[in-house]
Symmetry: C2
């Protein structure tokens, strides 16, 4: 997906939101905003939006001197999600359509996004309520379930901390034997890295690889050769989150995208209301 005109003011707003979430203080906030304005001005706007998100968060790590400024919130979100995992598993297992419910919990978990929204503690009640009530295209879920059953190998592109715990019932139903989960190669916003996957207990059950980049998305140009091999060879690729959608949706390779459409630009491109649960094969 290209960068739309409406993304430009949003980049600046996101940088300001990050500065507030991380309590950067006036001097560092001004520095971050000015450098973000410069980035946005120099950017090739035919590139996908996660390019500038990557660069903004590189600036933030440089300005704060922190390798992982969101670490504390990531640990809190992971632990909170893990506390609710048994209940999620119970609800999914008790459902007449466990795969459908697993997909809905996975997409509901996509609400845990410190990039798109202001940094707040997870509202578990809302996530549970949305997982049960938000409409999804049932036919698309059926196609995904069939594709997962038919595939010999599935690559799952993970997204954020906390969210990767909500993905767990879906990952279990796809099957550990055929699954590889890809996480970010280095900290960026609250996106899950290998350390976060370990904290979430994901590595105990599944093969987890790094995609080799610090982009809050999957820009193939930035990814490691090991990841690119997996991306090319997998029978099925499932992509979680809007950042992964934004960075991959223009490719020819068939991918199943699962995410909440969190902004007007993406919702508009897809022709769905904002905050819709999206399941798209592209």
């Amino acid at each position: 997906m290209k960068t739309y005109f409406d993304c430009i003011p949003c980049f600046i707003r996101q940088a300001l939101g990050a500065a507030r979430t991380l309590d950067l203080g006036d001097e560092n906030t001004e520095k971050l905003l000015r450098q973000t304005l410069e980035l946005a001005q120099e950017l090739d706007w035919t590139l996908p939006p996660p390019v500038i998100a990557r660069d903004i968060h590189r600036l933030i790590r440089r300005i704060t001197g922190s390798r992982d400024p969101y670490l504390e919130q990531k640990i809190i979100d992971t632990e909170l999600a893990l506390k609710h995992l048994p209940e999620i598993e119970r609800q999914v297992a008790a459902s007449p359509y466990p795969f459908l419910h697993a997909v809905k919990f996975s997409i509901a978990g996509n609400a845990i996004d410190l990039g798109a929204k202001k940094g707040e503690d997870i509202d578990i009640d809302t996530i549970f309520a949305e997982a049960l009530s938000k409409p999804v295209e049932v036919e698309a879920v059926r196609r995904l379930q069939e594709a997962a059953a038919d595939a010999g190998s599935v690559l799952f592109l993970a997204d954020n901390c906390g969210e990767i715990v909500f993905d767990r019932p879906l990952l279990e139903r796809i099957g550990a034997d055929k699954l590889t989960v890809a996480v970010r190669g280095a900290p960026t916003i609250n996106d899950a890295t290998l350390d976060d996957a370990i904290r979430a207990g994901l590595t105990e059950r599944f093969a987890v690889i790094s995609n080799g980049t610090d982009t809050p998305g999957t820009l193939l140009d930035d990814c490691s050769p090991e990841f690119l091999n997996h991306f090319q060879d997998a029978d099925l690729v499932i992509s979680k989150g809007q950042g992964n959608y934004e960075s991959l949706s223009h490719l020819n390779r068939e991918v199943f995208y699962l995410f909440m459409a969190k902004c007007n630009v993406v919702a508009g491109e897809l022709g769905v209301p904002i905050d819709s649960f999206v399941i798209r094969k592209k």
Copy 2:
């Protein structure tokens, strides 16, 4: 008023809004956005927000090659407002508190602002409804009425086209004999210039002067010596609109401000809900 951090993404959003209102097309929209990013980056953020609004609209006039890109809309808004002036006058004259109602119609007319909001035709019904229903600080109106009665000379800083017609009942009640109305020195957004004041019939009743600048506000550094003399010498200055408030509120000179608080930053600074009718002496 200084430029707040929240103003920065809003500048970019306003430039995009102007590009859409004026149908600039993709190429010119990108040019305007990139140059606005550069302006915002280089700006001294201790200056009031109308500085960048001035520069954005200078860019727009350069890009479009038009001296007055909003002219058509300004004429439409003026004619529409003039059509309703007899009814406004009738309602004000019939009110038990004509000065209060004149103030309320004047502030309600401040909704006609192609800078803060997306360009749309005036919704006359909403303006009339708000003029009748929105709360104002009656005590502040009383102080304004007394100050106007006591003053030998009153300088009224006008704001937008259409809006200056809604100011008319208030101007009449202040009195043509003591009143000077100041308009912008050159076109900027839909702000009223001398040409617009003539079209609105204002010059037939009142002394109208130019403030000598193309800023959508009143930056004294930009204003003409003639205007500055009036500003210094007037017994009472009444300032209409948020742009005038933003550019003058840090001054020591006593000014009565009348406007709708159209953005979160200004509403927050004043401690009022957004879109409140504000009457402040400062």
